[in-house]
Structures are given as C-alpha cells and as structure tokens.
C-alpha cells in the first residue's frame, strides 16, 4: 500500500495486453507474414524461392497491374467524391427542410450499406443487363457491363449508390450538432441559403467529411466483391482492380508471393491516402 495508485506505471501495459494479443494475432502477424511472403516466388504448395524485391518490381512493370491501380483511382471519384457532393446536398436538404418522417428517409438512404455486397451486385447486374430495367427506361439494348466505355463507370455508379447513404447519415449527424445561433447570426448578416451553407454548414462538418472521405476511399481501393460478381474484370480487362488481382494471383494462378506484393502495395497506398486526407482535414 506504499505506492500511489497506478504505480508502477508499467502495469498499464498489462491492461492493454489482451487487446494487443488479439490485434497482434489477427492483424500484425498476418501483415508481417504477407510482407514476408511477398519476397518469395511461391505457388502455395512447394518450396518457395527467395526473390527479394522482384515481385514489387513486377507490380511496377506490369502494364495490366498499373491499369488496375488506375481503375481503382477512377473508382475513388465514384465511391468518394460523388457521394460526398451528393451527400452534402442531400443532408442539407433533409436537415433544413425538417421533413416529416426524417427517420424513414434516413433508413432508405442508408439501406444500401446494410445489404450484403453480393446481393447488391447481383441486383445491379440485372439492372444493367441488355434487357434490364435501365434499358427499358432509356430504350435500346446496350450491355452496360460489357461495354468498354461504360463498364467502369457502371461499376462506379453502384459504388456511388452504396456510399451516398453512409456519407449522408454521417453528415446529418454532424449538422445536427450545429448550434442554431450560428444560423441566426448568418441570417442577420443577410446570408442566403447558399452563403449560409458555405459559411456555417461546411466548416462545421469538416470532421465528418474527413471521416466520410477516409471510409469511402478505403472502400473504393479495396473493391473486390462488386467487380468479382458484376464483370470479373471484363470486358477485356477494363474493370480489373488491384484487390481482384490479389485474389486472382493467389487462388487462381498460384502466385502467392506476387499476390502478397500487390496486397502490400495496396495497403501502403490506402495508408498514404488516408494519412493525407486526415492531415488536410486537421490543418484546414
């Protein structure tokens, strides 16, 4: 009973130990193991061959893989930029109008987040099919997912549809916290709805936007199920994405080392982008 509470300080590490063990076993160990595997040429069965960084060189050299990363960047526009823009508009309208049954609308908008991705993908596959509802509305019989120009945007639009709900709900929560005095002050200064949006709403939900961008960018970069079910990377290779390549190399081609290298690169890219987003959000 001689030492003050919490002493010795090192006992604190004991408290985080259980969580750290779980974290270590299921996150750190696989990550280290993936980095380790990426240095080998290994088919998943026979003895691997140490090849140093050549798997990483191949990631840079392989034109198909570069294209896949390019597609992922295009998807960011659809998964992240569009949902934030649409979400801001939608949330502002829902917040200002104080519509009856707001909870109902919020549920509807959020619903795509709750539905399993494979279900979403199968549904949209039908919507886009040559004799599907989209063509019924537009007339004609274009196979959207089989079209070299439209396949990637078509997959992207599904992403927009999914992520908009998440972004909207996040922003609504942020806007609900804005004290009404600020609106009053803005109105007294003669601000219209647009000026009010830029002067009051936008700065107040900056944190929520940062969270939304981080979540949606991660979703864009690791898209797998959507592409796998809708196009399998086609037509040709026009919708291939890095995470699809990871699966493809590891499980179909038996190039486990190369797959791990792509995975590690993707992890690094996601880490860098989210780091950048958060830096910008904090500084602004």
């Amino acid at each position: 009973m001689s030492s003050p509470p919490g002493e010795p300080r090192r006992i604190g590490y004991l408290y985080i130990l259980p969580a750290f063990l779980v974290y270590g076993a299921f996150l750190l160990y696989p990550l280290i193991r993936a980095v380790h595997l990426s240095l080998f040429q290994w088919d998943g069965i026979t003895l691997g061959k140490f090849v140093g960084l050549s798997n990483y060189l191949d990631v840079v050299r392989d034109a198909g893989l570069r294209a896949a990363f390019g597609h992922a960047l295009v998807l960011i526009v659809f998964y992240s930029v569009l949902p934030v823009v649409i979400g801001l508009a939608l949330a502002t309208v829902l917040h200002r109008a104080r519509v009856r049954g707001l909870g109902f609308f919020r549920t509807i908008v959020f619903l795509p987040q709750v539905v399993a991705m494979v279900v979403v993908a199968v549904a949209w596959r039908n919507i886009y099919s040559p004799d599907g509802p989209l063509n019924d509305v537009l007339g004609g019989s274009r196979g959207w997912l089989g079209d070299y120009t439209f396949a990637l945007p078509a997959v992207g639009v599904i992403g927009t549809w999914i992520e908009t709900g998440l972004v909207t709900v996040l922003l609504l929560a942020g806007m609900a916290r804005i004290p009404s005095e600020r609106y009053e002050a803005a109105r007294l200064d003669g601000a219209g709805p647009v000026a009010e949006f830029f002067a009051v709403v936008l700065p107040a939900v900056r944190g929520e936007i940062a969270v939304a961008v981080t979540l949606t960018v991660i979703a864009a970069l690791r898209t797998f199920d959507l592409v796998y079910v809708t196009t399998s990377g086609g037509p040709g290779t026009s919708t291939s994405v890095p995470s699809y390549e990871v699966y493809h190399r590891a499980f179909e081609l038996g190039q486990v080392g190369s797959a791990a290298a792509v995975g590690v690169c993707l992890t690094a890219l996601i880490f860098l982008i989210t780091l950048g987003v958060n830096r910008i959000a904090e500084r602004a």
Binding site: Y29, G48, G143
Partner: protein
C-alpha cells in the same frame, strides 16, 4: 519495455522466417511397385473421401455408390466429406499439404489444381492399378488423357494417370425444335439455319458473355470445324509443337467475327450474363444455344420436348471433358483400399447407377438404357463423341493464365477491339511463353 517489444517483433519475425512451403515434400510421388486388388482382404480400413457431388442427382448417386461399396466390402468404411465445387477448390490445397490429408479427393483436372498437386507430389500415379483393374479397357484414351500428367506436373494430357472421372460433359448445340424441325446435317446447313433465323427476326444464337468464359466454348466449337484435332489437343493441353498463328485459327476467328457482323448473336452479348442467356433460350427466345450438357436438366424443365441437343454437325472434334476425377493422395494410409473405391465407383455397374440418377456416365454411355427426350439426345451425342475419340479439350487448360487471356481476348475480338490477327497474337504469346519453356 521498448526492448521487450523489439524482442517480441524479432521473435515474430524469426518465427515466420522459415521459407514458405518448407513443410511439404517436393518432387513427384513414387508409384507403388505392387498393388493389391482384393479389397476384402485388406483388413479394417477407414477411407476419408472428399468430393463435390452435392447437387441433386450427384448426391444421390454418390450415396448409392458408397452404400453399395460398403455392403460389398464391410471391412472398409467410407468417411465422406462433400463440399461445393468452389469450397473444394479453395480448401483442397491446404488440406493436401496438411498431415491429416484425406485419402481420396476429387481434384479439378486443370494445371492450377491437379497439375500443381502432381508437381508437389501430393497425388499417387494410378498406372499400376489401372493395369490391374484394366481401366484402359473401361475408359477410352481420349477420356483418360484429361487426368494424365508427367511426373513433374509440367506436361498435361500425357504421362502418368492421376485420376478417374465418373461423368462426362460435351459442348454442343441446343436447338429449339419448333423453329428447327430438322436439325442441320452439315456445318454449311447450320450456318444457313442461322441466316434463316436472322431473316425471320429471331436471335439465331443466344449468347451471354459477361462472365468471360462462355465465349471460350463458342470459339472452341467454331475452331473445331477448321483446325485439325491434333493441333487443338496440343494447343489446349499447352504442349509444344503447335501454333495459334495458323491460317486455320485465323479462319476460325474470322468466322466468329462474321457472326457478330451478321447479327447472329443477341444485342449486347458482352454485357449479358450466362444464366440470363440460357434462361432466355429456355423461354423460347432464340433458335440455337451453344452450351454444355450441364444445362440439360434446366432446359428440359423449361422447354420440355421442344428442345433438342446435337453435336456440331460435320463429324469434327467437339469440345468436351470429364467431371472432376477422383485421385489418391500421397498421404493415403491404404492406397489399395482407395484404389478399390475408385474402381468401384467407375465400374460398369456404377455407370448404371449414374444413369438412373440423372447423370451422364462417361463410359459405356451409348449402351445405357438412355432416357427419352433431351437426355436421350445427350447420351447419344456424348456416346458418339467418346467412341469416335473426337473429344477436344477445353482451350483454357493450356496454361495457368490461359483462362484469363482467352476470356479477355475473346471479349476484345467480339467487341472488335482486336482484329483476328491481334487476337491470335495474344493467345500465341501466352501459349509459347508457357509451352516454349
């Protein structure tokens, strides 16, 4: 504390620093020198069998075969683990390298499955048992080639026998009998029928290629008409000595493109799923459908006696293959008992069970009490294909990457993103990179 963390990380690193795969054997498994075929004298044995026969008729036949086998050899007990095709494909790799591996497994024929397992020495060559049980008389060579690999797993279609399949499949023409009362007797008549259907305002060929692979079967069917059978076999098994850059292959690719030009396929076929396409055919839309025998049950249900099946006319080779072959693992505790099981489920009696449960048995197909209607057509077609040795392997068997190369290139070709020459260049590059090694 910092030191402890560094030590922990270092420990984790050293723990993982073993070369991946170092726990598994390398090199081909050695064939047994003597084999026993008297299964009743093997003593008490428990066989663990992994198969993917989970669907209706498949599950029924497997259950019946096992019951029959256990009744015949009470000393052998079968412990059956069945998983869907996809589950089996993804778990088999790990299972085979583990210490508690199953005795008998159903392994996909292709290079990325059976080929890899052979390379890793995880499957036993069955040739000694094939000799003892006379499997060579039971199955024609064109069927057995699908389970043959060289001991190093590099050559496909030749060498040791590593598995025995139960069922067969072949890609042919489904036709709507109300629109095609007399099936075409030659390739020229078939193309004339396509033109006639187009003129009548129908979709001559239902086709859904969103999933990439369906075009492989359509192209294979066209290619079979132009390219000599031995060339196709070499190309499809990825063996050296053939080339994609031949006038015959060019002609095949040009024919396919001309079908697009003439509007023989439905609009937007590259964006249409495989299932919706055959479902449309099942609803009476479209005159022909190039597809495999696996659609038999569904199309029979949809169209009843209005649907027929035939091999592409002209007596040329036909794209086809076998169901997943059953193989014996190198960890099998009693390989003789495992071989006895495989022998039993591929025997003439087993073929009868397969027929009665609605499957397409791979041997003696023509002599089975063929069912009426569509199933009858299919039995007759497959019997002809096997007995004349006309079975041509799936083109995507060729190399580990060919499935993708071919699927993507065919989408390019059909969408006119690539000329036939560019299309063949891509295939040749994939093929020669692999076969040239």
């Amino acid at each position: 504390m910092k030191k402890t963390i560094i030590a922990a990380v270092a420990l984790a690193l050293t723990a993982t620093a073993c070369t991946p795969g170092s726990g598994s054997p390398s090199g081909g498994a050695t064939a047994p020198t003597t084999v026993k075929t008297d299964a009743a004298a093997l003593g008490q044995v428990e066989l663990t069998v992994w198969d993917q026969e989970v669907r209706g008729g498949q599950a029924a036949q497997m259950a019946e075969q096992i019951k029959g086998f256990e009744a015949k050899y009470p000393n052998i007990k079968i412990k059956r683990v069945s998983r869907s095709f996809d589950d089996l494909k993804t778990t088999l790799r790990l299972a085979l390298s583990g210490n508690d591996a199953p005795d008998v497994v159903q392994a996909n024929n292709g290079r990325s499955d059976m080929g890899e397992f052979v390379k890793a020495g995880q499957l036993l060559p069955l040739d000694k048992w094939a000799e003892a049980y006379k499997w060579g008389d039971r199955y024609p060579a064109s069927v057995l080639q699908y389970s043959r690999y060289s001991a190093d797993g590099k050559t496909f279609g030749e060498g040791n026998l590593y598995g025995l399949p139960q069922v067969g499949e072949v890609v042919g023409l489904y036709y709507n009998k109300t629109k095609v009362p007399t099936p075409p007797a030659s390739w020229a008549e078939f193309e004339a029928a396509l033109a006639k259907a187009k003129a009548a305002g129908d979709v001559p060929l239902q086709f859904g290629n969103l999933d990439k692979w369906p075009a492989i079967h359509v192209f294979g069917t066209v290619q079979d008409q132009f390219v000599p059978a031995d060339q196709i076999t070499k190309l499809a098994f990825g063996r050296p000595g053939a080339s994609w850059k031949t006038p015959e292959n060019q002609q095949a690719a040009e024919t396919l493109v001309s079908w697009v030009d003439k509007g023989y396929f439905n609009n937007g076929f590259n964006g249409q799923g495989y299932d919706p396409a055959w479902q449309d055919f099942g609803k009476g839309k479209g005159t022909f459908l190039i597809a495999g025998t696996w659609l038999q049950a569904d199309l029979q249900k949809a169209l009843g006696d209005k649907v027929g099946f035939m091999l592409p006319p002209g007596g040329k080779p036909v794209t086809g293959g076998t169901g997943l072959p059953f193989a014996i693992t190198n960890k099998a505790k009693n390989p003789d008992a495992a071989a006895a099981y495989i022998n039993y489920i591929t025997s003439p009696d087993a073929m009868k069970v397969l027929t009665s449960t609605g499957n397409l048995p791979i041997a003696d197909t023509a002599t089975q009490q063929a069912p009426a209607g569509l199933a009858g057509d299919i039995f007759k077609s497959f019997g002809t294909a096997v007995s004349t040795g006309a079975l041509a392997p799936y083109l995507d068997y060729a190399t580990p990457t060919m499935y993708d190369t071919l699927g993507a290139s065919l989408q390019d070709l059909l969408a006119k993103r690539a000329t036939p020459a560019q299309f063949l260049d891509k295939l040749e590059a994939d093929y020669s990179k692999f076969a040239g090694k």
